[in-house]
Amino acid sequence: MADPRVIVVGAGPAGVRAAQALVEAGLRPTVVDEGRRDGGQIYRRQPEGFARSYPQLYGTEAQKAKDLHDSFEALRPHIDYRPETLAWNLTAGQLHVVAGGERTAVLPYDSLIVCSGATDRLLPVEGWHYAGCYSLGAAQIALKSQACSIGKRVVFMGTGPLLYLVASQYLKAGAQVAAVLDTSSLSTRIRALPALAARPALLWNGLKLVAMLRSAGVRLMAGISPVAVTGDDERGVSGVRLRDAQGREHSFECDAVGLGYHLRSEGQLADLAKCHFDFDEPSRQWLPRIDEDGRSSAPGVYLAGDGARILGADGAEAAGRLAALAALKDAGRPHAVVEMPQLRKRLATMDKFRRGLLQAFPWPHQLASQLPDRAIVCRCEGVSAGDLRATVRDLGAQEMNRAKALCRVGMGRCQGRYCGHAAAELVADAAVLPIERVGRLRGQGPVKPLPMSVPLAVEEQA
C-alpha cells in the first residue's frame, strides 16, 4: 500500500509535534507554514543575526521553546518543508498554496492536519483605528521578533493572561509601561481559582507576573470599562480614557496601546473544508467540531492546537501529536496508539484550565453593545457601530453575512478577523436575538488577500 499523503498546515507547537509523529511512523509529510521560520507565534524565532538568549526571549518557557525548535531541526531532512507559504484555499482533497506571494501549487492529500493557530481576539473601543493602537500579540511580536517597543509609553488594555505576560516582558526589556487595564474584575478571577488550579504551575506563574508588575510600580486596574483611545488622525494615539469599577473616569497619556481580549481560533481552512462548527458558550465563539482526538466532521481533516481550542502551547503540542496519531490510525498505519489515552487525559486537564481562564477573564461582550454610534467597529472598511445598528434596524439584517453584504462589516482586508466577534454582538443586541442566532462570518477563499494573478495561475495548472 502506498504511503498516505499527509499535509500539516502550521509549524507552531501543534504542527511540529504532528509532523514529528508522522515521521516516527515512517511517513514524509508536507509542512506548509506562513512563517519565515518555525515556532509559530508563541515560540516565534528571532531572525538570524539577533543575539538574545532563549531565557531572554521565552522566560519560563525557554526550555520548551528550545526543545520545539531542536525537534523541528531534526525533522527537516524527513519532511517537505514549505516556509513562507500560505494555504489560501482548499477543495476536495487538494490544498492550494502560494509561496513567497507568487509561486503557486496544488497539493493533493489523503489526510490534512490543520494547526492554524489563533490571533488576538479584539473588542473595538472608540479610537482604536488611530495609528499606534496595536493588538496585544503585535506588541509581543515587536519585542520578541524585532527587539522593539510599539511606542515610548505603552498602555496595555483588555483582558486575559497575555495582558500581564506582555506587560511584564515590556518592563523587563526596558520599555515604559504606563498602565495595565483589565476589564475582568478581581472577584471573577478569585471565583475561577478552583478551575485554574488544574494547572498549578501556570497559575503560579501568572500570579508572579502580576506581583512583579505591581512591585515595579506599574498601575494595575481591574474591572475597568474602556471609554476611548484618544488621539488624532495625523499623529495617532495620545492616550486612553476609561471608567473604573465605581464608574469614575480616568485617563492615561501614552503614544501606544496594546489591546486584546484573549484569543480567537483561526477557523478559515476548517470552514473551507466544510467542517461543522458549534457555538462554544463559555467563550461565545464558534469553534470547529472535533472529537477527543482532533478528528473534524470532514473525513480526513484533523484539527489541532489553538486553531481548534485555545489551550495554549502545551495543549497544542499534545493535540498536534494526538491528531497525527489519529490520522495514522485511520489510515491503517497505527503508531504509538498506546500514548493516545494519556494525551487525551492531558488535554482534558488543559480544557479545564481553558474554562477557568474564560471564567477569570471573560469576554466582556456587553461592551460591544454599549459602543457609541460613532466608534469604528470594522477598521478595514471604516464601518461604525451606528452604521451597523442602522443596517439591522433599517435594512433588517439579522444575520452576520447579511449585515456584511449590506454594510461591508468584515468585508475588508482582514476578512472579519478583528471585528467579526464584536460585530456579531452588536447585531445580536440590535436585533434582540441571542448571539448564537446571528451566526458567524463564513470563511472564504482566498483566506488572505492575493493578487488576481495567483488564483488564475492555479486554474491553469489544474
Partner: protein, 103 residues
C-alpha cells in the same frame, strides 16, 4: 508625521542598511522587518482608504493587512512580514488611487 513610532530596546549591534521612505533616505538595521525599518523612522505606513486617519499596522502577524506599503513601482508589500533590504524604496503617502489597476 515624522516622529518615529517604534523604540529599539536591544539588538542594535546589527549592520546598518539604508532605505528610502517617500524619497527621503533613512537608516535601518539588517534583519529589520520593513515595518520596523519604517516605524523606527516615521510614525505611519499609509492612509486609510475609508477615513481621514493614518495607519501604522495592527497585528504584526500577517493577519490584518493594515501595514501594506508600496515600492516605487507600485507593488504591494506587507510591511510586517517583508524583510527590509539595503536600498529599498517605499511610499507611505496616499498615491494608491492614482496608480493604474495592478495585476
Amino acid at each position: 508625521m515624522n516622529v518615529p513610532r517604534f523604540v529599539r530596546l536591544a539588538e542594535q549591534g546589527r549592520a546598518p542598511i539604508r532605505v528610502t521612505i517617500d524619497g527621503r533616505e533613512a537608516h535601518a538595521l539588517e534583519g529589520d522587518t520593513l515595518m520596523v525599518a519604517l516605524l523606527s523612522n516615521t510614525g505611519q505606513l499609509r492612509h486609510s482608504e475609508f477615513g481621514p486617519e493614518v495607519r501604522s499596522g495592527f497585528c504584526l502577524m500577517g493577519a490584518c493587512q493594515d501595514c501594506w506599503v508600496r515600492d516605487e513601482q507600485g507593488n504591494r508589500m506587507r510591511a510586517c512580514t517583508t524583510t527590509a533590504r539595503d536600498g529599498m524604496a517605499v511610499r507611505t503617502t496616499k498615491e494608491e488611487a492614482t496608480w493604474p489597476t495592478l495585476a
